[in-house]
Structure formats: structure tokens, C-alpha cells
Amino acid sequence: MLPIIFVLPLLQLVILSNAATFEVKNIKFSYLDNDRTSFSRALIDKFEASEYFNVLAHFNSEKEASAAMLKGNIDVILEIPQYFERDLLKEKKTNLSVTINAIDGAAAGVENVYINQIVQSFNKNATSELAMINGVTAIPKTIDSIPSFWYNETLNYKTYMVPGILVLLVTMITLFLSGMNIVREKEIGTLEQINVTPIKKYQFIIGKLFPFWIIGFGLLTIGLILGKVIFDVPMVGSILLIYFYTGIFLLVILGMGFFISNFTETQQQAMFIAWFFVVIFILMSGLFTPIESMPMWAQQLTELNPIKYFVEVMRMVMLKGSSLSDILPQLLKTLAYAIVMNGLAVWSYRKTS
């Protein structure tokens, strides 16, 4: 069992961190060129040059294009109107039609942004070219924004995912194990034998939860090492602070597992309830979808999500180098959570029925 506890989650860490990316690459791009001029070719060349787009096909009619989209062969159709070049030169403006397969809404949004960026840059080149042709000396000034991404300059999603996924693994494993452990004793009957002994409640609970606390630290340690070695995740802040916070966080999860144990009779029930909470916690943790984009009520709910705080703290400390005073709000909330959860667990555990 012990090797399984460690090997499987770490496999997950390696696989998920590599696979769970928000970048959209290999967009299946096609175009309909009704103009066939040097301008329209220049625009298409720009798409061909981009590493995000695979220019797969060009169509002669709209019909063909939409048929291919329906089959799923292509994701994006760019239609260049007739007189594209002429309109641009004479009237200084023209329209482009872009059709995007939005079955995956998130991907479609990202694709739209990429296309816009390419068209914008094409536009800029075209404007300067036009200016030269027309001999106009005063080129209209445009405002450029040059973003600089702090704490993750290259927007490397792995830097951002690895701490998050590590959090999930530590949480899941410790919650499942602790949740099932006492129920298992109920099922086997050993709990009945223990209950007639003079052992104190707190002694029993500490004895039951301490091993999982240690296992949680073990997982964190191996995960951090893998994160450094395989993914080269920056570790700017204090590792000690991460361990300190994890120690408190694990108390929340273990208390929760124990609480679940007290209200279930079989491992199956415990597993079901643990899953229910884990899924909600994960999807509302801000790991996969930003909390800021959730509706207000959901944002307020996430206040009760311990994983949210853990993800925040891990990212803050590892990527930003936050100190104890920076993570103090999260730390205090987690501590309060731990006290409440363990209080409930101890209160609900009964040696007598």
C-alpha cells in the first residue's frame, strides 16, 4: 500500500503538469481567399508563420468551408473578401470574416485573441506600407502596450500548474486515507474492541491521524523535489514556510476525513462523500478556472474551500517569495478551519452509541 500511496500521485503530478495546459496550439486553420492579391497572401503568410496555427486547407467556396468545419476537420475559417487590397488602399478600411468552432468555448476565446493579434500586426505593417505608397509623412501614432509578466515572465504554465497539482495530490491522498481509515475499523469490528478499552478519545484520534500527517509531508517533499528536478519550478520563497503552512493545512484535511468517518458506516459511503467534497474543492480552488471569473455567490463559497488557500499560499511562496506576514490571512483562516474541523471531529466521535 505505501508504495502505491506515493507512486501513483507522483505519476499524476508528472502527467498532469505536462498535459493540463491552457495554451491552445495546433489550431486547425483554413482560409477562403476571394481576393488573391499580394496583400491577402501576406496576411495568410503571417498565419503560416505562427506556431499556433496549422494552415491546413484553402477553400474556394463558403459551402466547402462550412462542410469541413462540420466534419471537424478545421477549427477556424478566415474569409478574405474580394477587393481586400483595393479597399484597403483606397478607402483605408476593409472587413475580414473569421469563423471559429466554439464547441470548446474557452479554446475559441483564446483562438480569437491569437487571430486578432496577427491581424493587428498585419494592420500595422499595412498602414506603414500605405503611408509610403501615398507619400504621407505623418504616420498616425498608435499606442502600444508591452506587457511584462511578473513572477512568471515567460508565462510558463508549468510553473503555475505544478504547485497547484501538488496541492491537489497532497489533499486528495490524505483526505481519502484518513476518511476511509476509521470506517475500515468500523467495518472490520476492531473499533468495537478499541472502544471498550480505557483509551482516551484524543489519544485515539491522534494515533489515527498522525501517520497521515507524516504521509502528507512525505508526498509534499517528493512532489517538491520532482517539481524542481523535472519542471524546474522556481522556489523563490522559504521552503520552511511551505512546510509550516502544510502542517496546519493537513490538520484541516485530516479533521475533515475523521469527521466523514464518524458519519459513515462503510468505506463506500466514506469514499463517496470524500469524492463529493474533493471535486467541489478542486473545481472551485482557482486552480483550473480563476476565482475572479466566478459568479459572486460562488466566489463567496470559495472562502470555505481550504484548497483555495493552499493553492494561493503555494503559488505565493514558491513563485513570489512571499513571507510569513504576506500569507498571514490565509494562514489564520486555515488555522481557524483546522480548529473548527477537528473540534467537530472530536465532538462527533463517540465511543458509545
Binding site: 469490528g189 474492541q193 458509545t352 452509541s353
Partner: protein
Amino acid sequence: MSISVQHISKSFDKVTALKDISFKVKEGELFGLIGPDGAGKTTLFRVLTTLLFADEGTATVADFDVVEDYKSIRNSVGYMPGKFSLYQDLTVEENLTFFATIFGTTIEENYDLIKEIYVQIEPFKDRRAGDLSGGMKQKLALSCALIHKPKVLFLDEPTTGVDPVSRKEFWEMLKRLQKKGITILVSTPYMDEAALCDRIALIQDGEILEIDTPNDIIKTFPKKLYNISANNMYQLIKNLNAYKHQYSVYPFGEFVHYTDQRNDFKKEELINYLKENNLKNITITETAPTIEDVFMELAK
């Protein structure tokens, strides 16, 4: 009084498990609770071992109240649940050490008490408890229940699922423990084991039918009992049940235990009746009743 139970009742949802149970067990007594499955034996054990609160009534174990002084009870009783409930993935020795530690004692301290039992499983002390045979599991469970030198020992169906030889040994062990001054409350569905107890309570559907020594209980049997056998057991039971003077008919090993409604039972009349029904090799002999017969009579 080592155990005193007064008017204990307990219900679960719709089922009444115990109805107004009262009895007393003297110090150093081997007291048997005899009853079929579902009679309420385990519920009574769980009330007395402070695992379950009774709805009504009071009980004391070793002069401690089961509700108020539950902590003292947990220190002074040994409980062996019906289901094997030691840690299967710990070895024999680890289990024993574990329970000794929980009770704040050591194996060495009370070794004399468990010695006779433990020597039999000592050769397997490095084996995991889950890998032991049924009889050895019982011995280990008994050792663990005894490790803290309890005043009262609760054994819930200790011999269910154990082979006849181990059962016999187990009861011999109980007798020896009793001599050391331990009060033992044991439950069993086996009527033959009842005869080995000092006193027994016959229990069915949560009610006590009778409490007495095994011999006195047997004496309460109201009728003359006959062993009847014939060449065809099934036919014999069928015909006896159809016989107009029959009072009770129960199969009992190779015989049928029969009682008659009349006080002046006529053997020849029954033989002739059975012969008419094509039965051969008919024998009818008077026999002494057993606890099982009394139980069947009381439960009737």
C-alpha cells in the same frame, strides 16, 4: 454481585431487542446466556460493556454503573466480541502488546493469567492475526481480553465457527479462569455448552425465559420424553406430527424427541399407528431431557 441487570430494555427503530431483562451474576460465577441468533444476546453484551445505552433500566458491572462509571468499567472488564476484531495485519505478539499497552500494562505483568492459553499460540507469534485458524484466533482474542487482568469477562459467542475439539478446549480454559476468580458471562447458541455453566439464562426475542442452574432447568421439563427412531426419518416426523395425541415432536440427532399429551402414554398404540404408516424398525425408549428440550418447550 459482579453483574447486576435491572429492567433493561432496548429498542432499535421498530425492533425491540431487549424487553425488561433482569438478572444477577455472582462473583466468580460462569454464567451462560443461551439463546438462538437474534435473541438479543449481543445487544445485552454491548449495554454491559458500555458500548450502547439502554432505553430503560440500570445495570452495574463489578459494582460500577454502566452509564455513570463507564470509564472504570472499561478498565476492569475484558470483552471478546462475537466477530474476530483484533488487528488482522498485526502479528499475534503485536496485537497482544498493543492491547497490553492500551490498558497500561505489559505482557510480562499478567503473563500467568494468559500463560496457559498463550503457550498454544506462541509458536505462531510472528504470524499475522488474519492468517490464524479459527480456533487460534479465539485463543488470541481471549488472551487479548485477559491481558489487563479483568474482574469480569464478557464472551459473546466465543465458540461459534470453531471446531469441536477447540470448543472443548476453550470451555476447559474458561473453567480454569473461573477458578482464578474471574466472573465470566458467556453467550452461546449451542445448548450442549449450556450444561458447562454454573447458571444459565435462556433468552429468546429479547426476553428471559428461565434462569437457573442447568440441572434445575432440566428438572422443570414437564413431560416424559421419548426417543423414537424408524427406518425413514422424514416419514416418521411427518406421521408423528399428524398423530392426534402428540404434544411435541423435534428431530434430535438420529432420534425424534417426542412427548405425548396424555399422562398415560401407550407405547404400543403409537407403534401400531406408525406401522400402519409403513414404517419399520420402530424403537421407542424413554430418555432424559436436555437443555435444548427445555428451551424448545419454553419457546413453544
